[in-house]
Symmetry: C2
Subunit: 193 residues, 2 copies
């Protein structure tokens, strides 16, 4: 390959994700992305065609990383501990961002650009992926007799709850408040006593 790209793609995508998380899809301009990444606007257009395509690439990258993390969080052999861990880590990740940019997927879903089927598509991949990871873990627990509820219904319910906590984070950014919500939820769930 001659005329090779100067920038490192993964590095750029990580920065791009944070800019979109910060300002939202619509409010983010190619100029913002150029400034933050250090890649000139023209180069971004050349490499990614336009904002929409760049966003899709960045979001796919985000989904992939996110699902890997979820899987690790849920890996604990004790189901109740696995979910407790997932939620605690989830809260910690949200709080770790000093700029309080919030949950990228939830932000994008709510901004949701109904005119963009390709964005809807990548959001579905994200949510279905999350639900599937949770569903798998609940089925395993169910098979082992550790969990007594219906795995699919609870997977849906928990996906919704995590989205709700992401909303609460943006409104209050209060760690205890979020932890309290998850504790209330966990305490109710039909784990084997």
């Amino acid at each position: 390959m001659v005329g090779t790209r100067k920038f490192n793609e993964e590095e750029i995508l990580s920065i791009v994700i944070n800019v979109f998380r910060d300002k939202g899809y619509t409010a983010t301009t190619m100029l913002d992305l150029a400034k933050e990444t250090g890649v000139q606007r023209g180069s971004l257009y050349n490499a990614y065609k336009n904002k929409n395509t760049l966003f899709l690439k960045a979001f796919d990258y985000y989904t992939q990383q996110f699902l890997e993390i979820i899987e690790k969080d849920l890996a604990h052999p004790d189901a109740k501990i696995a979910f407790t861990q997932l939620f605690a880590n989830s809260v910690n990740r949200l709080m770790a961002d000093e700029q309080k940019r919030g949950c990228f997927s939830t932000r994008t879903i709510m901004e949701s650009i109904r005119q963009c089927p390709d964005i809807q598509q990548c959001l579905s991949v994200f949510l279905d992926g999350l639900q599937e990871k949770i569903h798998e873990r609940l089925m395993k627990a169910h098979d082992e007799g550790e969990f007594l509820g219906e795995p699919l219904r609870y997977a849906r319910y928990l996906v919704a709850l995590t989205r709700g906590v992401a909303v609460i984070e943006q409104a209050y950014s209060d760690k205890e408040h979020m932890a309290d919500i998850y504790n209330t939820a966990i305490a109710q769930m039909p784990f084997r006593k």
Copy 2:
């Protein structure tokens, strides 16, 4: 008063709310608002100073109407039925909008413009108001022995859950999916058997 306003304020605010719900705060332009309301752009600037002030006025109006509705939904004397009703109505209201504009407050929270303390402020009023209505109903139920959980913790939890369902609605716009989440939640709650 001489030189009286031609337009009806409540009518305009209702339309304004729907435009903001549709496009989000940032993406909505004064031109959009002028087109939809039929009030000229210059008149809107004259009457409301700018987009921010107009938004705040519209959101306050929305909050007021919303809280009145919640109170009615929760009025049923049987607590479990009251909440079942609240959730069912909540789903129906979201689905009633053929344009799928989504939950106005949740959309605004996630767009959340951290640079705008006045918008954060009106969002707090909204969420605190919602939590308080739920809290009051749960305390009543608790006092009557119908509800065995801690009212405040459950109020927080339910506010989060409703926000989560609002996110799910934008992603899937599937009535059964939403109903299923609420049913799973209700079934777990510590109402008296």
